[in-house]
Every structure is written in C-alpha cells, then in structure tokens.
C-alpha cells in the first residue's frame, strides 16, 4: 500500500502547475513546457480542442435555428451570461452557465465567465493596446491604490515577445500615450473614420483616432504557420472559434504549442478548490482539485504554481486556501486580498450620422474598429476627475430594404435598397479607481455544488465614474460637431460593473508587502512559489483592453520563475 501511494503521488508531481488555460494560463504553460519543465494545466471547464470543439464555426447564418437569438428559456435561466453581447447561438456554449458556480451580488455585478479550455480567449474582442509609462505611473502620480512596482520599460520587451507570437495587427502611430508594437499590417479605416481622424488632428493637439491594434494575423509570419495558424479571413464570427486560427485564442496557439513539446498535461473538468501550503517548508506544495464529473478530490503537487484562473476566480481560490499560517487566505497577511477590485467603465456611448461620402460605402468585413486613445489627464491632472477614458469608434454604412405590402408587392419591395447616411458610434472605456470598499470575499454560509464557499462581490460605480461619463459625452459631442456629424445622440447603456468583462485586482502588485500581495515578479510576497499573472494582479486598470498586458506579465513572470528554479531558489 505504502509503495503504491508513493507511486501515485509521484505521478501527480509536476515541476509547475498552471491553474487556468485561458489568455494568461496558456502563456504560462507554453513558457514552462518550452523550457522542458513538466507542467500540469488545470482547467475547470470542458475540453475544447482547436477546430474539433467549435461546433458552430462553419454554420451559415441560415443554419442557426433562431438566426442567432438564444431561446428565451435559456436566457431566463442564465441572466448573467445572457447579459453578454456574445451570448448567442454561435457562441453561448462557451459561457459558464449561471448555476455552475453561483455567487453573491452585494451590489449588481455581472461575472461573465468562460467554461472550457481557452476560457474567454475564444470570446474576447481581440483589442490589444499596450500600456504606456503614463498608465503605470498613474497611481503614484495621482495618489490612489499603490505605486506599481514596474514601469513601461520593464514590460516593453515582453510586449515585443508576446506580440510576435500572438500576431498583432496595427499601425505605427507614434503616440507616446499608446506605444507602438511589433505590428503586422494594419486594417483599413473607412472614409468616415479617416475623416474623423483628420478632423481631430486639425482641431486638437492631443486627440487621435487610429485603427485598433488587434490580435488578427493580417500577414502570417513563420511563427504563426509553426502554430498551425493562418491568415485571418475576415469572417467576423470569431467568438465561435476560428478554424484558421486567424485571431489569437489559447486553443489555437499557446495550449497546442505547450502540448506539442510533450512536457505539458492538459486536464479539463478540474475545479481547483485551494492551494496546499506546506507549513514546514513554508511554501505551497500543490493544489486540491475536484473533478467536476466525479466530484472526487485529488491533490496534485508542484514546485511552482501559476494562478491564471481569471481575476475573480484567482481571488476566490486564494481566499479559500486557508492554513494555520494563512487563516485568511494564502499570502493574505495584510488582509487586503480581495480588495481594491476595479474594472472598466463601459456605460457611455454616443452615436451620430454623417452625410458626407454619400457616393461611397465599405466592402468586405473587418474584425476590428477604430480607437481613440486616452487624452484626458495623460501628462498632468487637468479635470475634476482622476484618470480618463479611451474609446472605440466605428463608422459604417448599410442599406435598408423596403418592407411594405404583401405578396409579390412585398417581395419586390424587399429587393429595393435605400442607402441612408453613414452611421458612427463610439463607446467609452474608462479607467476606474481601485478602492478598499470594492471587494470580493468568501460568503460565510453559502457554498456551491462543490462545497466551496461562494464568492461575494461588492463593486460599484463612484463619483469619479459619473464625472467621467459626463466628460465623455461632452467631449465627444464637441469632437463629433467639429467633424460635421449630425443627429448626435450621447447616451448610457445601463451596463453594470462586470459586464465590461475587464474586472481586475484583489491580489495587486506593489513594492511593499504591507500594502500589496505580489512583488514586481508577480510572486506572493509571503509565499514565493505562487505567482499570480491574470487580472487579479493588476494594481490599477488604465483604459486599454487588458489581455495583452496579462500575457506580457505572464511571460515575464514565467521567465523569472524558470531562472529562479534553475538557481534552486524555488
């Protein structure tokens, strides 16, 4: 018996365990496996093999039973998942169902989650803008949260590193507020978007409308062919999974790359319950995993653990990792774990029309839009609110068909196309301020079906967000007016926190163990062989879509961990 047990433990011993197989977990797995380390990738959701498990990817619009709309019954049973724009017939199967892991909403919060290998990297909007030095310097300059322990120069080489592998399309715009990267050819702005770019350049010194930088292969490099990926074909149904690997998803890129080395083991249906702390060695020694199909708990062991479960899930697991040494959660000596959660404020929008270029339209499809980088408070404080917002911007022109009559009249009317004016739209992506009262914590009584305490979430908009919304509406109204747009309609969409799917923080990086949980290498100050490199590590949010930064931080931290392991320090 003893012998068998030892043998079984040996089988469950790895060099590294990566919790989560999505945007950042895929990167941790790839880096460890590439360097010859035996790596276990734990994914709580389903198996989702590239192409094999994309059931809707090649369905034509008319092959979707309800032309995309999810049946009311499923929407009613899953109000949280259904609040996401991508919850439609083509992609709903990639969302976690609401009853899979219930949580407590102390205030309204829509926690949108993937539930398969690759996580939300299948579903994301694929916008990949770098942070600038001004973004990292924000908290220290403006006196909120804590100072970031790293700056742009620390992460810049890692942006280069992941951008080359991922494949980022973009234009070198030369803006110091949004540094250029290692870009594949950019997508094209359409005539009205170019007109808006020109207008901003003429009327403002600090405002720009550029083509978005996005994770689409517009011109493959060898490194992309090596992954089995090919050029994006502009289908713009990315969230179903792309058979070409035309956009970056862990499923088509980092995960198969890690598996191909022979060093990585991918284990879906594995709900991580907690991290096991070895009181004698004073470090983590493994994780407890519940098989979601058998409900059986098994322990797995490793020298190093990377937490990439998604921002709130990583908080959840760490808070639930209690030991004599850490009664309030692993590494939580200062009681700050789960606090200082922030997100992106996506509540304001503004639409309008443009009556120029009436003899023009667009052709083909574009999996991208234009982007207005943050221009408020970049170099110094200049408004009555802190920080600022970036904005997506898009112009399009569509025809309308007639609808009158019945019978042959109706049929003929349906063939009549009328071309209206160009329509433009923009949505705000605001930085929010991490605050102690924005937190997640374990509920004291409620548990989920695995017996894990439910996460309780309390995150709200504040005055700073309200002022920023007003400013967005005013500034964009002025920018639209100067561009000659008409019928300008600023508005709000009622989105609640979480619906932006950019929740961050709770296990923030910082210089001081008294006021932060992670050091400059994403290591828990108090438990050095546990690294957190998903959204939970973020000290502040800035305005950029965060995935690119998570990937760069992960590659950087993995590189450090590997060096420390080789030195025998971990």
């Amino acid at each position: 018996m003893t012998y068998l047990n030892i043998n079984s433990v040996k089988k469950r011993k790895y060099d590294a365990i990566v919790v989560g197989s999505g945007m950042s977990g895929g990167w941790a797995a790839k880096e460890f496996a590439d360097k010859g380390f035996k790596t276990l990738i734990l994914e709580r959701g389903n198996k989702a093999e590239h192409n094999v498990d994309y059931p809707t990817t090649n369905l034509q619009p008319w092959e979707l039973e309800h032309r995309g709309r999810m049946p009311d019954k499923i929407r009613e049973e899953n109000p949280i998942a259904a609040s996401c724009y991508n919850f439609h017939e083509g992609a709903a199967h990639f969302f976690m169902k609401d009853d899979e892991q219930p949580y407590v909403q102390e205030s309204p919060f829509q926690w949108i989650r993937g539930n398969q290998v690759g996580g939300k990297s299948l579903l994301w909007a694929r916008q990949t803008q770098r942070w600038s030095k001004y973004d990292f310097e924000g908290p220290a300059r403006d006196g909120f949260a804590v100072e970031w322990p790293i700056g742009y120069d620390d992460i810049a080489p890692w942006y280069d590193y992941v951008e080359n592998f991922v494949g980022i399309s973009g234009n070198k715009d030369g803006l110091d507020s949004l540094p250029d990267g290692d870009f594949l050819p950019p997508h094209e702005q359409n005539c009205v978007e170019k007109h808006f770019s020109d207008s901003l350049r003429q009327n403002f010194t600090d405002r720009h409308n550029i083509i978005g930088r996005c994770a689409h292969i517009t011109e493959p490099r060898q490194i992309h062919y090596d992954q089995g990926r090919a050029k994006c074909q502009h289908r713009t149904i990315c969230e179903r999974g792309c058979p070409f690997g035309g956009y970056f998803a862990a499923n088509s890129s980092t995960i198969p790359w890690a598996l191909k080395t022979g060093n990585a083991t991918l284990q879906p249906n594995s709900v991580v319950h907690s991290i096991i702390y070895d009181e004698k060695k004073q470090k983590a020694k493994g994780v407890r995993v519940i098989d979601s199909e058998t409900m059986k708990m098994t322990e797995y062991f490793a020298d190093v653990i990377f937490m990439n479960a998604s921002a709130l899930a990583t908080n959840h697991i760490l808070l639930n990792s209690k030991s004599d040494r850490f009664p309030e959660g692993l590494g939580n000596d200062n009681g700050l774990m789960g606090k200082y959660i922030a997100f992106h404020n996506y509540r304001a929008v503004i639409s309008a029309e443009y009556e120029g270029f009436m003899d023009k339209k667009t052709a083909g499809k574009r999996p991208n839009s234009s982007y207005v980088p943050r221009f408020r408070n970049v170099y110094k404080q200049e408004t009555d609110f802190l920080r600022g917002y970036a904005a997506g911007f898009q112009a399009s022109r569509n025809s309308q068909n007639g609808y009158d009559g019945v019978g042959v009249d109706l049929k003929n009317n349906l063939e009549k196309e009328t071309w209206g004016p160009w329509r433009v739209g923009s949505h705000m992506m605001g930085e929010t301020i991490p605050k102690e009262e924005s937190y997640v914590r374990l509920d004291k009584t409620l548990v989920d079906k695995y017996g894990i305490p439910q996460l309780s979430v309390n995150v709200n908009y504040d005055d700073n967000d309200e002022k920023m919304i007003q400013d967005f509406k005013e500034q964009f109204t002025e920018m639209y007016e100067k561009a000659g747009f008409t019928n300008i309609r600023p508005g709000e969409n009622g989105r609640v926190p979480g619906n932006d799917i950019h929740e961050m923080g709770g296990v923030r990086m910082g210089k001081d163990p008294k006021t932060s949980l992670l050091n400059e290498w994403n290591q828990l100050h108090a438990c050095k062989n546990v690294f957190v490199t998903d959204g939970a590590c973020m000290t502040s949010t800035s305005t950029q879509n965060p995935s690119l930064t998570y990937m760069a931080l992960t590659a950087r931290a993995a590189d450090y961990a590997i060096k420390e392991m080789k030195k025998g320090n971990l």
Binding site: N58, L59, Q60, P61, W62, E63, E65, H66, R67, R69, P71, D72, K73, H187, E188, Q189, N190, C191, E193, K194, P220, Y225, G228, R229, A230, K231, Q233, H234, R235, P243, F244, G245, F357, M358, D359, K360, K361, T362, A363, G364, K365, R366, N401, Y403, V406, G407, V408, L410, K411, L414, W419
Partner: protein
Amino acid sequence: MNRRKALKNVGLAFGTALSLPAWANAWTPETLPKITNFKLAEAELLNQLVEALIPKTDTPGAGEMGIDKFVMAMLNDCTPVDQKSIFITQLGLVDAFTKTKYDKSFADLLANEKTECLGMISVNEAPEWKSFFGTLKRYTVQGYQSSEYVMYKNGFQFAPGFYSGCVDLEES
C-alpha cells in the same frame, strides 16, 4: 479571391486534405430541426400563409424555402407566451374568415385571393389581428432575408478575406 485563398491558407497551415465544411453543402428544408408542438393543420396553414406573404415568382417563395419552420422555431422559443398564444388563436380563425368571405379554406384560395386576404388581415385594426400579422410578417421577412438563397443573391460572403473602407456605391 477569397474562398480559394482561404482554402489555400488552411492547406498551408494544416498540410492535409480539406473536407468541405458544412457551409459548402446545399441547404434543404429537410435539414432543419423538426418542430413538433404545432398541430399538423396549423403547420400546413402557416406554410400556406408564409408562401402567400412572399410567393414564388421567378424566384422561390418563402413557403417552399421552408421559412415557416423558422417562424415556428421563433414562436416556440423566442416569443413571449401571450404573444404566441394570440398567434395560435388567430391562426385558428383564418379559415373561418376565408370561408365567410370566399366560401373556401385559405389553402384553396387562388393566388390573388390569398394576397387579397392577407391584405385585409394586414389592415385589420383589432389588436389580436395586428399582433398576429405583425408577428407573421416580421419572422417571415427575417427568415426569408437571411435565407441562403436571398443572402447569396445579395452578395453575402461568408469569408470575404478583405475589407475595403471606401468603395463606390455602385460597386458590389
């Protein structure tokens, strides 16, 4: 360029023969899921109504394209219960209406009579008939406009492989 180039790129990436995906196969009404919770007579009448609303000319009509199956799927799964209930009730009154007016069931009307009959229903101000006709027309038009036949006729490209931000309106 686009389908050929797309396929070529996939060939490069995977290095294997490519079996054509589902979107290369012809769509037929038989491949659609079967809707079971309508009575056969209701389903047949709905098919007649959908065909009369967008009839066969030198191009296929909505009924022969099977758009009634889509209308039923939407009524079953994506329509508030009370709205669906009104629809079913009014559907059951259509033949009574045509028997009074033409002494025939809807299915037996001549093509011009069907059009005339739908025209009368479309201007009936009673809330139940307004709801019935609005639902019928909205789903029929949505299904027809997003059918394989109409979408390809209108230049639909599943994988265009390009985007041009400024082309002449006449170009397609």
